[in-house]
Subunit: 235 residues, 2 copies
Amino acid sequence: MSYLIGFDADDTLWHNETIFARVHERYRALLASHHDAATVDRTLLATERRNLELYGYGVKAYTLSAIETAIELTSGKISAAEIRQLIQLGQEMLAHPVELLDGVTETLASLAGNHRLIVITKGDLRDQERKLEKSGLKSHFHAVEVVSEKDEGTYAAVLRRHGVAPERFLMVGNSVKSDILPVLALGGAGVHVPYHLQWELDHAEAPPAAAGRFFPVEHIRAVPSIVTQWMAARR
Amino acid sequence: MSYLIGFDADDTLWHNETIFARVHERYRALLASHHDAATVDRTLLATERRNLELYGYGVKAYTLSAIETAIELTSGKISAAEIRQLIQLGQEMLAHPVELLDGVTETLASLAGNHRLIVITKGDLRDQERKLEKSGLKSHFHAVEVVSEKDEGTYAAVLRRHGVAPERFLMVGNSVKSDILPVLALGGAGVHVPYHLQWELDHAEAPPAAAGRFFPVEHIRAVPSIVTQWMAARR
């Protein structure tokens, strides 16, 4: 009879893409004398896509792909000092303070008393653990699952580990592709809370109709009433 | 009454430091016109130590620290083409075939029938998962725990998650610092199987005497009889 509520972390609990976007502006500026912004964006994205299988997600992967792309786009003319700047940008991202999204603290505090909450996030293991520590939210969560990919197999393994049937699992996140579609496919429920920016590699088309299991909302503050409604319908 | 046997992965199940050592020879050669090997080694280790908190363990962390060190040691004179080589070296390490250590397959096969085995390893999440897939050993393990640090807190959390008291846990690994000392401190048992190379940052002095709980052996093939002896003493 036990329910489980999962939360994505980056861009669901705290800002992430905005930090990447600020860094990306500085990356474009560094390469502006060589290429226009569109070429820089397209080439970096192609490098990230090519390296995804090998590197996985996170800041270290981004930094390595950014260096590789900068060398390619300047035909090797980029200086070591400029590459040092890229390493520095990566380190600044890793050391960046955690900026919670509006409403997160109250929403989690109100849910944690009555429900079992977990974090399910991809990215660098240590970086995600550090962000959760810095966030002050850790005490609300029963467990933290840092995974290398958010697909059906991963969610199924997490649910097995926590002894929860997919029908009793509800996932909250900003990515339709990573947080919603695989969970709906397993038979679980998804609450989509959009963030104003999205990484191209995390993009998906709109999800299929899943009556009573898919809840698009505007704000995380809507989650507690969705949870109540969803549970009531399952009793 | 349930027992749990944990195995470290790198340099316990498969070769890892030998691959790093081969890459490191090429790294020294790249910088040989600037500095002697001892200076290269010392400076890279200092960079890795400084970045450990931010980067954690693994190949991506190594690659970024190697690039940062190369820029520092050449006063920025290293070329983009040479930095491209360092990125390439990192990618080769990630794509490297898994080379099992002698006796691992038979030892795990003989233990898995009667005992619950798990892997506890640090490093890049995706890289460790990929190596386990490639190893052909995955079916022997009940679970795989990729952790960001191997200290008492981490082991305690893993044991709680698996519902096992520390007194019923035995860890097998090549690192006294990461695989043995924290487990002994919790009240568990450790089997130390040395590897012929060890990363400086994983070094520890010899463990304290822990009669009946610390077993230094020469080869992983000795583990099944140690397990039998340890369990018999606990009944």
